[in-house]
């Protein structure tokens, strides 16, 4: 947008405005049971008026902590242990609570991460906007509240102001939070992962709107995100944090194209995007790469799973005695070729997870059939179902929820063997060891408990458990969505290796198209319970047939940026 003004040679240093926010060698520490732990050290950061600066980092990198320190909202056990914090030239490192209250809202606004938990459930939306205006000495009549809300893109604002948060969708709530954050026209807005809880298309709309608003108002933005693509696309400047330290900072585009710190380099290399290609297994990676990527994969012809006209209805309680039907899955047909990956993509409420549960036999289909090697599993008896379960196994999203916290790793992986009465104690232990090796975890991990493991390690254990019964099909329900980018890349590689080693077929349920590109051979796009598009991954990505698929593809953060340099 301002491309023509970028002229480094004739730039006059004196005309550079005073920084709005400046962090100098900031250190933040937390009091814990084991003494004081340093969460952030030597963080330097400068935001000029009207500029957008993004802090990128994985969980635990200290990015949110840094942002919270800027608005004086560190948790009770945290404190600024060193360095200075300047807001518009004023040292606010040790500002009084009174001064902080003055600054908040009117000078520094905040848009928090999770729209579900950041609005008080017992107050009307309008009330929560109104009290913000009132606290900052602004007019707070009904019309003022409505104006603030409609600016944030909330339709019928006057009516909606009387509603409670639970009557709003996630996207609407985030708009309300943006309205609150910007209502007092702060000069700096701290946006902490403002859209990470939302569907991609909603995310795109909201970020666009936020961009427009902050541009119009001249608000500087400190954007916190884990998504490098999103940061590059939305910010003038990107700051990369790793383990509490700033490892690299610079102009957004330059950081993408010319990352210099090893961490940033890995981050750029691992970031899934449209440009990435399907991950090959280690075996294939060793082969001559001149051959075309997917061409030499074994051409499988038989379908291990064939889903025909699948329908799932849920009863929703209406009034007293009445019940309406909600169709979660609407005549979906799809197939998985043996040894390949089929991805089901969709946003929340698209019915994709219900499909997974139906294929797993955890719920009964209302209509249609699910053929597994030609046998319809919807008609299996209880005993046959028990046998069938060996052949299809799930991996779930939340690495913290998918392992029983009371079971150690050995018992977790051994459980399927015990349930199906496979081998004696010794045989099972051998098998568990072999499985751990397969997922690249040390055998010493057997005696550990899930709470001692990191997210990625837990997900590996979940994979080992799924593989214990030598299944033919693995259903991955958002299996990598909760992981940090680098860990996500590792797990995706592991899944690809296991596929070629064991001839597994995957049904990959995800909302993340960029991941689909890396792992899937076929894609099915679902919208509101219906299958709207299906085809090979390349077809769907390069030549989407429906508007919905196009909008999904378009909404991937950094979609344009990651294209090879010649088109940029």
């Amino acid at each position: 947008m301002n491309g023509e003004t970028m002229n480094n040679e004739t730039f006059d240093e004196a005309s550079r405005p005073r920084p709005l926010l400046e962090l100098r060698d900031l250190a933040i520490s937390f009091k814990t049971g084991n003494g004081e732990v340093e969460a952030v050290r030597q963080a330097n950061l400068t935001i000029l008026p009207g500029e957008t600066v993004a802090i990128v980092g994985e969980s635990g990198s200290g990015k949110s902590t840094t942002a919270l320190a800027a608005i004086g909202l560190l948790p009770a056990n945290g404190r600024i242990a060193g360095g200075t914090l300047l807001f518009d030239g004023e040292d606010i490192t040790n500002a009084s609570e009174k001064r902080r209250v003055e600054l908040r809202g009117s000078s520094i606004g905040m848009v928090p991460q999770d729209p579900m938990s950041n609005l008080n459930p017992v107050w009307q939306i309008g009330f929560q906007v109104k009290e913000t205006l009132a606290a900052n000495g602004l007019p707070h009549q009904k019309k003022d509240v409505a104006k603030v809300l409609s600016e944030a893109g909330l339709p019928r604002a006057e009516e909606r102001a009387n509603q409670y948060p639970h009557e709003f969708s996630g996207g609407m709530r985030q708009r309300a939070l943006i309205a609150i954050g910007l209502s007092c026209r702060p000069r700096l807005l701290i946006a902490d992962e403002p859209t990470s809880a939302l569907d991609v298309t909603v995310q795109r709309q909201i970020l666009d709107h936020l961009d427009t608003m902050t541009d119009d108002l001249g608000t500087a933005v400190l954007l916190i995100t884990h998504d490098l693509g999103l940061a590059a696309e939305r910010a003038h400047k990107v700051v990369v944090m790793y383990k509490g330290q700033v490892v690299e900072a610079g102009p957004a585009v330059e950081l993408m194209t010319n990352p210099r710190h090893p961490y940033t380099q890995r981050l750029v290399a691992s970031a899934p995007s449209l440009a990435s290609r399907r991950i090959e297994s280690a075996k294939e990676r060793g082969k001559e790469s001149a051959e075309e990527l997917t061409a030499d994969r074994p051409v499988a012809t038989d379908n291990v799973i064939e889903v025909r006209d699948l329908v799932k209805n849920y009863k929703i309680r209406g009034g007293v005695g009445k019940a309406t039907e909600f169709r979660a899955v609407d005549e979906v047909s799809l197939s998985i070729k043996r040894g390949t990956t089929t991805a089901v993509v969709g946003e929340s409420g698209s019915g994709k997870s219900t499909v997974a549960r139906l294929v797993l036999g955890l719920e009964d289909a209302s209509e249609g059939s699910i053929l597994f090697d030609g046998v319809d599993i919807t008609t299996l008896s209880r005993k046959e179902m028990f046998k069938f379960r060996r052949r299809v196994q799930p991996i779930f999203q939340d690495p913290f929820g998918s392992l029983d916290p009371m079971y150690n790793i050995f018992r977790t992986i051994e459980e399927p063997l015990r349930v199906h009465k496979i081998g004696d104690g010794k045989v099972r232990e051998q098998k568990v060891r072999a499985l751990l090796e397969q997922v690249a975890l040390p055998a010493s991990m057997m005696q550990r408990f899930p709470n001692e493991l990191s997210g990625g390690q837990r997900q590996r254990v979940a994979i080992a458990r799924a593989l214990a019964l030598d299944p033919e099909v693995v259903i991955c329900d958002e299996a990598v969505s909760a992981l940090d980018v680098l860990v996500q890349a590792q797990v995706l590689n592991l899944l690809a290796d296991l596929q070629s080693e064991l001839g597994l077929s995957y049904l990959f349920i995800t909302h993340d198209l960029a991941v689909v590109r890396q792992i899937a051979d076929h894609v099915c796009v679902m919208e509101k319970g219906k299958l709207v598009e299906t085809g090979s991954t390349d077809e769907v990505f390069e030549n989407p047939q429906t508007q919905y698929t196009r909008s999904l593809l378009d909404a991937i953060p950094g979609a344009g940026l990651m294209l090879p340099p010649e088109v940029a």
Partner: protein
């Protein structure tokens, strides 16, 4: 909202019927001669026995007995005690006293429990908080009658700030001390409940957001932390009203208050089962009504359930 309340009302009906049926069944229909059960160890004269049989329809099948008994409850005809006084009249005399006592106790535990619990929760881990916690444990651990005697002795006898016993008209000032004793244990529970809720809510995301909006600390605490913490506390208070009326039996005994509890206690000592059953039934009605009131309050406090 309407649907929510209707559903709760429908749920309370089986609770009321079940509880009254349970009591009625236990006392009147277990093996053994029913009149012997009613008359207890002391036994009755044949005349009394005959009138009892007549009064409680003991010659009828059990279901008819129960239904007639229910009809009696709804027509305020609860029978008579051994001395021939209508139980309704006795209750009309003593009920207001106990209601006043219970409401005073409720007000005491609500006001002080919430205030101290809020303060302790905000100062979590500090000296005040720890002291209050230990104190609340002590109050729960020491039986109410020991506390009652202690307070009667110290406040009433030693310091002479109040009469150790309550006169017949049970005025407001006379009831202050008994109300404190009656509400003491629940006060400790309210305090702990409030404290826990405040600690949980104070670290909620929306409270941080409220602070980030530029609200003063005072406003954040009252409008966001306290308001949200009231939801579990109100539920407890409602259920407690019924328990206080029933629990008054000990307190009324210590301070010699002529209320429902004392009447009930005398009936227990005299083995007047019908009187006991009638009073307990009335207390169940109070409990059920208090619960309905709680549901109303609950719906008002938490908009999420109004539409559930």
């Amino acid at each position: 909202m309407g649907r929510f309340l209707l559903r709760r009302l429908l749920q309370l009906i089986p609770v009321f019927l079940g509880a009254t049926l349970l009591i009625y069944f236990l006392v009147f229909s277990l093996p053994g001669d029913a009149t012997a059960a009613i008359c207890g160890e002391k036994g009755c004269t044949p005349a009394v026995e005959a009138s009892l049989r007549e009064q409680y329809n003991l010659d009828q099948p059990f279901w008819i007995q129960y239904l007639l008994y229910l009809k009696g409850i709804f027509t305020f005809d609860l029978g008579t005690n051994f001395a021939g006084q209508p139980i309704t009249d006795i209750l009309a005399r003593v009920f207001p006293t106990t209601a006043r006592l219970a409401l005073m106790a409720l007000a005491f535990e609500a006001v002080f429990g919430i205030a101290i619990g809020l303060f302790a929760g905000l100062k979590k881990g500090k000296f005040f908080d720890s002291t209050v916690l230990v104190f609340s444990l002590l109050v729960i651990a020491v039986p109410i009658f020991v506390l009652g005697f202690l307070m009667q002795f110290v406040v009433g006898v030693k310091l002479e700030w109040a009469n150790p016993t309550v006169s017949g008209d049970a005025s407001f000032t006379e009831l202050i001390l008994p109300a404190l004793v009656l509400g003491l244990v629940s006060f400790a529970y309210v305090l702990r409940l409030t404290r826990t809720a405040v600690i949980e809510n104070a670290s909620a995301d929306y409270v941080r957001t409220a602070t980030a909006k530029g609200l003063s600390r005072r406003r954040v605490v009252t409008v966001h932390v306290l308001r949200n913490s009231m939801i579990p506390v109100v539920t407890f208070l409602g259920a407690d009203l019924g328990a206080l009326m029933g629990g008054a039996i000990v307190t009324e005994g210590i301070f010699n208050v002529n209320g429902v509890g004392n009447t009930l206690y005398r009936a227990v000592l005299n083995g007047e089962a019908p009187v006991v059953v009638s009073i307990v039934t009335v207390l169940i009605v109070v409990f059920v009504l208090a619960n309905l009131l709680v549901d109303l309050l609950y719906a008002w406090l938490d908009p999420r359930i109004r539409y559930a």
